[in-house]
């Protein structure tokens, strides 16, 4: 499997929000990134998705209350990680394509369709894009589904998936604590706990925890503020 870590250090000219130099010979250029921790879990009857809320340009936090859970359709959401511009652009294009497709069909679209639309864009423009996306939602045919479209444009369905720079810190926690057959509240607690742990350790993740659950009844959104996050460390 190819290591794609080098992609982060591409030397294309990047402009930060108002170049920090303004006259100094050395210019610092940064891309706006959602380095992030994102997570999505399936349960019987729907999905739970969660994300942190930090967007960085280099070492500066450009937005500390970002909403990385983006609505693609009524019951299909995506979690965005990677370049903020790339993921926002892709999400808006897919939302348009899916809305058009849904009107043509006169039916709510399938989560698998949305995931394939993401995969089509992410794979075709894989050299130009930095986007890691989790597509999650509910449809009548297969119920709650989570699809992972990481950098490079792969597509795979998983019962539980994490993404972003902070995900590396919670693979172990996820493997140990996820059990098939959990209900919605258990999934919410698991996601909140996992995200808190990742935000504690990853410098590029932080802020508040945004959660959403998607089921046949609809979408329910929650925000857990910084001081209300589950605490794990005693020192």
């Amino acid at each position: 499997m190819k290591l794609r870590l080098f992609k982060q250090e591409r030397c294309c000219p990047r402009m930060g929000p108002g170049c920090l130099s303004a006259g100094l010979p050395v210019v610092c250029l940064f891309v706006v990134m959602c380095q992030t921790t994102i997570m999505a879990v399936e349960y019987d009857g729907g999905v739970v998705i969660g994300a942190d809320s930090r967007t960085t340009t280099g070492a500066y936090i450009a937005n500390r209350v970002t909403d990385k859970l983006t609505r693609i359709h009524n019951k299909i959401y995506c979690c965005r990680s990677g370049s903020a511009a790339d993921t926002q652009a892709i999400a808006e294009i897919v939302a348009y394509q899916l809305g058009f497709h849904s009107i043509e069909l006169d039916e709510p679209p399938l989560v698998e369709t949305a995931a394939n639309l993401f995969r089509a864009s992410c794979y075709r423009y894989r050299e130009e894009l930095t986007a890691g996306i989790l597509v999650a939602g509910w449809d009548k045919r297969k119920g709650g589904q989570v699809y992972s479209v990481p950098i490079g444009g792969m597509l795979v369905r998983q019962p539980v998936s994490v993404g972003g720079s902070g995900s590396t810190y919670i693979y172990g926690f996820m493997d140990a604590n996820y059990k098939p057959g959990m209900n919605k509240e258990q999934c919410m607690e698991l996601t909140a706990a996992a995200l808190s742990l990742a935000m504690e350790r990853d410098g590029s993740s932080g802020g508040v925890v945004r959660l959403a659950s998607i089921s046949e009844e609809g979408v329910e959104r929650r925000v857990i503020l910084g001081n209300q996050l589950p605490k794990f460390s005693t020192h």
Binding site: P17, G18, A22, G23, T57, S83, A85, D86, E128
Partner: protein, 250 residues
């Protein structure tokens, strides 16, 4: 990994032919001992805040060319539509041209729909254009306005990402201005409190950032009217020259 790319003649978009020439010129110039001229950038502090009845946008007025101040009183708050204005940081030409292009397209769109344009529309147009140029257009914008859905404020980055927030700052002085906002912002402020807050944020940028300076411009946008106050505060007044005789008396 080997990528198969078909070679096509370039059409539209940017032509990078001059980049090789510029690189050669740079080497030649440094050999002789002179340097290439730098693009004029607005060092800048720009910011915006949403208050009870609308938005307040603020900007400093210094434009720099390398280490020299090219324009002591340039206008960084650009007109987009009667109810939408946009502050621009980054490369001066890019912000000027981008805002003018979107203003023109938005006017046509508004005539076509028969409605007052929405801030979200201007945001979409700007972000799609900037994403298309992949960050090569160095325009970092603070877009604010009032439409049928209330007051809205967006920050737009050169690569095409946007954030919708109650208060935003951009430019080299953005950290200083954000410090003021994070300390004193409250939701649903009155107009005077909001104007004072924006004035103080820009002042923080002017006095603590080398790339920002001169005066403070404000633009207050509400449902009924737009108040373009230029200058709101002459933070840096030039001293008055006196003759030697008068100086002796002082």
């Amino acid at each position: 990994m080997a990528t198969l790319t078909a070679v096509r003649p370039a059409f539209g978009g940017f032509s990078f032919d001059n980049c090789k020439r510029n690189a050669v010129l740079e080497v030649e110039a440094s050999k002789v001992g002179c340097s290439v001229p730098a693009a004029r950038k607005t060092g800048t502090t720009i910011c915006g805040v949403v208050f009870k009845d609308g938005v307040v946008l603020g900007a400093d007025t210094r434009a720099t060319e390398g280490m020299i101040v090219a324009d002591k009183n340039c206008s960084k708050i650009h007109y987009i539509s009667p109810n939408i204005y946009c502050c621009g940081a980054g490369t001066a030409a890019d912000t000027e041209m981008t805002t003018q292009l979107i203003s023109s397209n938005l006017e046509l769109h508004s005539l076509s729909t028969g409605r007052l344009p929405r801030v979200a529309t201007a945001n979409r147009m700007l972000k799609q254009m900037l994403f298309r140029y992949q960050g090569y257009i160095g325009a970092a914008l603070v877009l604010g306005g009032v439409d049928c859905n209330g007051p809205h404020l967006y920050s737009i980055y050169p690569h095409g990402s946007t954030d919708k927030l109650p208060y935003v700052t951009m430019g080299s002085g953005s950290l200083a201005a954000m410090a003021v906002f994070e300390d004193r912002y409250k939701p649903d402020m009155e107009e005077d409190a909001a104007k004072q807050l924006v004035r103080d944020a820009i002042a923080a940028g002017i006095f603590n950032d080398l790339g920002s300076g001169s005066n403070i411009d404000l633009c207050v946008i509400t449902k009924s009217k737009v108040n373009y106050i230029r200058p709101h505060d002459e933070a840096n007044k030039k001293g008055v020259r006196v003759t030697e005789l008068e100086a002796l008396k002082l």
